[in-house]
Symmetry: C2
């Protein structure tokens, strides 16, 4: 294993062909005779991102010796569900619209974004019902429910500085780790023509691997939203504080801060009419204890996830999954 942070491209190299098939299937699913829809789905490409969730279906499918002809389609369904959630994340609150009038025109019309996300969900479910086993449909319909519940809970917990870490991780897990868990479970246990999983025990172990890796991924995301460089991260940073989301680096810092610092953090999050909340938070509050703590927690999750890989036969692919944990922890994007 190399020292330093592994390159994602290197880790995905063994499944390049599978990933290409996955991307082709996504492109076909997002085509539509309606020109209005075609114009929209063409723009969806901007959300493509790392496609880690789909890649995990394929990596674990290969590493477990369980890869089938339909794994690329399962991976496509997983990525499309993720894509739909990203499109819906773009919906602005009435409150946020009022607060950020300037940025509204940079975003899509809310109604169109809702319908486009619904379209992508529908295409994902449609593809999943065309598969020869119902395992993917069942696991992913339930996972979609969990994603929504996680997002709803996060939304109702805005500006909540009294949350326990366990609650925060439960929410972050539901909204992010659950799809990683489903991807890894299906990679190990999906089999064509059979509704039952190929290997229940391995499926469960890989589900746990995915959950821990996905939660670590989210925790690092939360750190990057505070410390990240916009150009490097490749998306707007500082949106959590703008949206009132209290993430672990903030929660941990807040819990250990003196009364004056607490008051200042609350103000930066909540005072009406404040602009540049993210910059204020970064410049005025020393969040380094929370950032360090969050990194340590992510490292602990990755260590536990790596332990689960012992259930897979030794191979270069298994080593790659091990290194993927290093990418998740060390990534700057």
């Amino acid at each position: 294993m190399s020292a330093g942070i592994p390159e994602l491209a290197d880790l995905l190299e063994p499944i390049q062909g599978d990933l290409e098939r996955m991307r082709d299937m996504i492109a076909v699913q997002l085509e539509d005779r309606s020109p209005a829809v075609g114009d929209l789905t063409a723009h969806v490409g901007r959300f493509r991102g790392k496609q880690l969730r789909g890649a995990l279906v394929l990596l674990i499918g290969r590493a477990s010796g369980n890869l089938s002809h339909e794994h690329a389609a399962v991976a496509a369904v997983v990525e499309m569900i993720h894509l739909a959630t990203l499109v819906h994340d773009d919906i602005l609150d009435a409150a946020v619209v009022r607060r950020r009038v300037a940025s509204v025109n940079q975003r899509w019309d809310n109604q169109i974004a809702v319908l486009l996300g619904d379209f992508v969900y529908a295409r994902a479910f449609s593809l999943s019902t065309d598969l020869s086993s119902r395992l993917a449909s069942r696991v992913l319909a339930d996972t979609t429910r969990r994603l929504c519940v996680g997002e709803i809970e996060q939304s109702t917990r805005r500006y909540d500085f009294e949350m326990r870490q366990e609650q925060l991780e439960g929410i972050a897990g539901a909204k992010t780790a659950s799809l990683y868990a489903a991807a890894c479970e299906l990679g190990a246990s999906y089999r064509m023509g059979q509704d039952e999983p190929a290997d229940v025990e391995l499926g469960r172990a890989m589900r746990e691997f995915g959950w821990e890796l996905g939660l670590a991924f989210q925790l690092i995301d939360d750190c990057l939203d505070i410390t990240g460089d916009e150009a490097e991260v490749g998306k707007t940073v500082g949106t959590d504080v703008e949206d009132g989301k209290v993430t672990l680096p903030v929660l941990h810092t807040f819990a250990r801060a003196d009364a004056a610092t607490r008051a200042r953090i609350r103000d930066i999050f909540m005072a009406p009419g404040l602009s540049g909340r993210a910059r204020l938070l970064r410049e005025e509050c020393d969040l380094s204890p929370g950032i360090e703590y969050t990194h340590a927690r992510a490292a602990e999750l990755v260590a536990s996830a790596r332990g689960r890989l012992a259930k897979l036969p030794p191979s270069a692919l298994r080593s790659g999954l091990f290194e993927l944990g290093g990418f998740v922890l060390g990534r700057k994007w």
Copy 2:
């Protein structure tokens, strides 16, 4: 058959028990351990409405002699998909937010409404993947795509007074009639444990019946949005003009109006800052030719739909489906 407009309650009387089972299943699906979600789904009841789409699965299931133990679940999936679209219809555009600031607080937070709709979709798909046949999942995933495409096309055609009637009906059909068509098709052709339809020919005939009935339903809805009494209709009327939706009564009137009337209609739809557009349209423009034409078109569709019922064996239920056309045309709500 009775003279006058049949009462919906009388027409649904033969399937009361089935409808109760359907409602119970919907209630179970919308439960969630998360208190945040439970609070929200409790409010979803306000969207319950006529449940005509679910009722059609059951009425046609019984009238065709094809009713199975799982038809109530299929009906529940159909109604939940409809419910999800209604929740998402509540999303406000950034533009509408700006125009109607006063009403924003009467509505839910946009983000929550998006997530709640996604949750309802996920529960619908989850229930459909638990059924012993995949026919419902397949038909309804594809129908959901059509609903979204219809809504997207409608959205991109706002303020378009040059549309052809055929285009308008294609859009109204996709966004409304397609779910009626799917409900009727599944009522006649869903069978437990078999992915193939029970009777392809009857399924196709009932699909056409549902399409025509659903399109007629939408056309009457478009008339009620102009002429209806808010208290009687049971929902806000005049929203089409506020949202820039050009419906058949307006399109037909516009196409035959003189230049001055056309200019006035355009102004009422489009002039910035105008308030009470619906009232202005009703009071200043004589839409009666368009309303009459739309009613005649709906009657033509219902007549054609009724002809398709000849494929069903004669029964009181078949007569009830015939009368349902009378309800759709004559309804004031």
